[in-house]
Symmetry: C2
C-alpha cells in the first residue's frame, strides 16, 4: 500500500516526482544518485505530496500560543515575511475576537500580498458578515464545538449544523470569496455524522473541507485512513490541521497529503495552543525528501531561518536545539564514521542539504569519537601539511585531550596547529595553554592508553565508530 521506494531512494533529495508514472511528475530532470531500491517507483494517484499548498496560521493559531501578543506592527512584519517565503495562504485571527483583531485583519488585507488572506471564524452568520467586510480572500469556518459530532447523532443537531453551514457557505460564495468548512476534533467525532456534514457542504459548493486534530491524538495511519475515506466522499479540496501533543503533527500532515489532502495548516516553529501544530520548517524538511523540485520551486527556503528568528523574537522563545533544518546541530556530524563519510559524500548521512537553506555543514571532530579522517580534513581546511602518520598521531592527541576536557572547535584547532608547529620546531609547545598539572597528568595517561590500542585500531581510528548507526 505504501510504495517503499516512494521516499526511499532520494539520496540527493530528488524523488519519484521525476518518474512519469507518478502523479507529481514534473518532467524536470534532476541529477540523481543510483536508485537503491530494486523496484521502480509506484505511482500513487491519491498522493498530493507533489501538489500541496500551505495555509500558514502563525497569525491565527500562533496567536493562541501562550507567549504570543502580536501588535499590529509585528503582525505586518510576520505577514510580509510569510508572503516573501512563499506560503500560499495566510490565516488571521477572527475579526470577532476583538476590535483590534478586526482592524489588523483589514490592515493586512490592504498590504497587497501575493498570498491569499484568510480569516478563521465560527460557522455563524454574524461572524461571516463581519469577516467578509474586512477584505479577506476567504473564510475558514469551523463548527464551534465538536460536541455535536462527538455525541451520537441526533437529527436536530445534524440539521442545525448542515443548515447553518449551508447558509454561511452560500452567503460567502455570493460575495465571491473562498469558503472552507471544518469540523473540530475530527478524529474523535462520529465518522458517519462527519461524512454526512462534509458531503452536504460539498454538494453546495464549499471550496474546501477541513479536518482538525484539535487535541493531537491522531496517528499517521489513522490520518491516512480518514482522509482517504473523505477523499472518496467529497470533490472539493481537503485542508488538514494537526496538533503536536504526541509529536506526530508533521508526519500526520504528510500522510494526509499521501491520502489526497490538498492543504496543510502550519505555523512558524509550530506555535499555537499547548505545544502547537505542524511546524512550517518540519513540513519543509519532510516535503524536501518527498519532492525537492516542487518545494524548491515554490518556497524560499534560504529565508526559513530569518522567518523563524523573527517569530521566535516576537514570542520570546528560543529556537529548539533539535529544530529540523535550523536547529543549531541539524547539520553537525560527530561520530568518526559520520565525519569521514560526510567528507567523502554528504548524502551518506544527510537527506537534506544545508546549502538549500543557506546554511553550512559542520563536521564535529573534537571528541573521543573522532576519527583521523575528520582530523585530516580539518588539517587541510586549516591549510596545514601533514603525512597520514602525523595526522594519526595528532588524532591520538585530540582524542586524549577530549578525554580530559570538552573541546571547542577552537581548542581542537589550536591543538592541531600547535602539534603542526611542534613538528618543525625545536622546543615542544604545550598543545593547550594553561593546562593544570592535573589535566596534564590525565592527558598523558589518556594518550598512553590510546597509543597502546592495537595497531588495527590506530590504523583506522574510525572503525569503532562504524557502529554509530
Amino acid at each position: 500500500m505504501c510504495p517503499t521506494p516512494d521516499a526511499a531512494p532520494a539520496t540527493n533529495g530528488s524523488n519519484s516526482s521525476n518518474d512519469p508514472s507518478h502523479p507529481g511528475f514534473t518532467g524536470i530532470a534532476t541529477q540523481r544518485t543510483q536508485r537503491s531500491s530494486p523496484y521502480q517507483p509506484v505511482g500513487d494517484f491519491l498522493s498530493n505530496v507533489s501538489r500541496f499548498k500551505i495555509i500558514e496560521s502563525t497569525l491565527r493559531e500562533g496567536e493562541q500560543f501562550a507567549n504570543a501578543f502580536f501588535d499590529t506592527e509585528t503582525k505586518i512584519q510576520i505577514a510580509k515575511a510569510l508572503d516573501d517565503f512563499g506560503v500560499d495562504y495566510i490565516e488571521l485571527t477572527s475579526p470577532a475576537a476583538s476590535e483590534q483583531s478586526r482592524k489588523d485583519c483589514e490592515t493586512i488585507c490592504k498590504l497587497g500580498l501575493k498570498a491569499k488572506i484568510l480569516t478563521h471564524v465560527r460557522c455563524h452568520m454574524d461572524d461571516a458578515r463581519m469577516a467578509v467586510e474586512t477584505g479577506v480572500d476567504g473564510l475558514d469556518v469551523v463548527i464551534g464545538t465538536s460536541s455535536y459530532l462527538r455525541e451520537h447523532s441526533h437529527g436536530k443537531d445534524m440539521t442545525y449544523i448542515i443548515n447553518t453551514a449551508i447558509e454561511v457557505i452560500e452567503f460567502v460564495k455570493s460575495k465571491g470569496l473562498e469558503i472552507r468548512f471544518s469540523s473540530e476534533d475530527s478524529f474523535r467525532s462520529n465518522l458517519v455524522d462527519l461524512l454526512s456534514v462534509y458531503s452536504a457542504v460539498d454538494k453546495v459548493g464549499v471550496t474546501r473541507v477541513g479536518i482538525a486534530d484539535t487535541v493531537g491524538c491522531a496517528s499517521p495511519r489513522q490520518v491516512y485512513d480518514l482522509v482517504r475515506t473523505l477523499r472518496g466522499v467529497v470533490n472539493c479540496d481537503i485542508e488538514t490541521h494537526f496538533h503536536d501533543d504526541t509529536s506526530c503533527a508533521v508526519a500526520n500532515a504528510y500522510c494526509a497529503l499521501e491520502a489526497g489532502a490538498t492543504h496543510v495548516d502550519t505555523s512558524v516553529l509550530g506555535i499555537g495552543e499547548r505545544n502547537g501544530i505542524t511546524t512550517l520548517g518540519g513540513l519543509m524538511a519532510r516535503m524536501m525528501v518527498a519532492d525537492r523540485d516542487y518545494v524548491m520551486s515554490k518556497y524560499k527556503l534560504h529565508k526559513l531561518k530569518d522567518l523563524e528568528n523573527l517569530v521566535a523574537d516576537a514570542v520570546q522563545i528560543n529556537i529548539p536545539f533539535n529544530n529540523p533544518i535550523t536547529g543549531f546541530c541539524a547539520f553537525t556530524h560527530k561520530a568518526g564514521i559520520h565525519a569521514k563519510a560526510i567528507l567523502n559524500n554528504p548524502t551518506t548521512y544527510e537527506i537534506l542539504k544545508p546549502e538549500d537553506y543557506g546554511l553550512s555543514r559542520y563536521v564535529h571532530f573534537a571528541s573521543r569519537l573522532t576519527g583521523w579522517n575528520a582530523i585530516k580534513s580539518r588539517v587541510e581546511q586549516l591549510g596545514l601539511t601533514m603525512t597520514d602518520a602525523q595526522v594519526k598521531l595528532c588524532t591520538q592527541k585530540v582524542k586524549a585531550m577530549a578525554d580530559v576536557r570538552p573541546l571547542a572547535i577552537d581548542d581542537a584547532d589550536s591543538v592541531i596547529r600547535t602539534f603542526h608547529l611542534n613538528l618543525t620546531s625545536n622546543e615542544e609547545k604545550p598543545l593547550l595553554p594553561n593546562m593544570t598539572s592535573e589535566e596534564k597528568a590525565k592527558f598523558e595517561k589518556a594518550e598512553k592508553e590510546i597509543a597502546a590500542e592495537p595497531e588495527q585500531k590506530s590504523l583506522d581510528q574510525t572503525v569503532a565508530q562504524e557502529t554509530q548507526a
Copy 2:
C-alpha cells in the same frame, strides 16, 4: 487498513487495549468516556503498541550529540535515572570507541540496575570480544556501513556480511548474551539484500534484528510497510531506530510498533547525531494515547521532567518550548473557548492529563482572546464573589487592558482584584498601577469599543473563540 477507532475514542487516554479482540488486551477495566466512534475497535494482530520495549540510547546515540561530553559521573547519574524511570534497556557507546568508553561500560554494568545494559558495536569479532568482557547483558551489532547494501548485491559482499554476522552472533550467544544484528540506513538499502541478511541471521538465532533510519528520510507508511514485510520474514524481535531530520521519528516508531516491531530506540530529548532521534518523552506521549494502562504500568512518568532536566543540564541545552508533555506550554490553554471547555471537562482539549506527569494545567486568560468563562473561573480561584454580569464587565476590562499591553497572570489578577474592590468601595482605584496617560487613553478607547460590541457578543465573549479549532 488502519482501524480508525484504534486511537480515536480515547478521550480519557485509555484505548482499545481494553477490548478483548485487541492483542494488547490487558483485562484491566479503566473508566472510559462514551465511545465516540460508531465502530468497535478492530483487533490488529500485528500491532505491538501494547507490548513495546524501550532501548534507551542517551548514553550511546546521545553521546554523539554535538554538545555531549559525559564524564563517568554523569553517565552513572543518567543511567540510574533512566533505570528508575523504567526503561527496559540502556545502550552504551562502544567500548572500542575509547579506553574511557570501555571503562565506563564496565562501571555501569557493575551498578546492578534493573534495566538490561547493551553496548553498540560494529559487526566485527575484535569489538565483540572486547564488548563481552565488559559485563553487558547484550550486544547491538550493526553493519558498519550501508554501502554494501545500498549498492546492487554482489555475492562477495553478501557472503562477507552474512559470514561475519554469523560468526559474531554465535560467539556472543556462546557467552550467553543477547545479540541484535542491525543494518544501517535500512530505508535506502536494497530490500532484497536486506531481507536476505535478516533471514540468515534469524536462522542462526539472533535475539533481535534492527532497522535504522540513519538519515531520517523514512515516512510513517513506508516504515509500516518495511516492518510488516520484515515481520513476515523473521521470527525474532524487531528493533527500530529513527532519526528526526524530517520530524517523523516518533510517528515512525509508532507505525513500526503497529507493524509488529517490538523495540524502539529513544534518547532523552532525542539527543543524537544532527537533530537527533525518537524522543523518550514524545514516545511516551504517543503511547499514552495508544495504551495508557500499559505505559502507566511500566514507566514512572512523573519523573520524566527531572530526567529531561538532568540530561538538558548535562549537554547545556534548553528544553524546547514545544517539547511534548514537559514543554512550558504543553498544558496551557489560551483561546476563550479552550479555557471554557477545559474548565468544564479537560478531555475536551487534552488527550494527555498533566497530573499523569506530575504537572498541572494552566488556563491562560490574560489576552484579547479571553472569554468571560475563564475570568469567572479565575475569580473563583481568587476566592472573590461576583455576579455573572459583574464578571462580564470585568472581562471587558481585562480584554481592553490586554489591547493596551501584554498582561502577565499577575497583571490580570490585579485587574480582577481591583475591579472587585472598586465594586464595594467609594473611590475608584486604577485597575493597573503606573499606567501612562497614553495607556489610560488607549484603555478607555478599547473599553468603549468592546462595550459597544453587539449584545450577542457581550453575552458570550467566548463564541468568537469557538473558531479556534
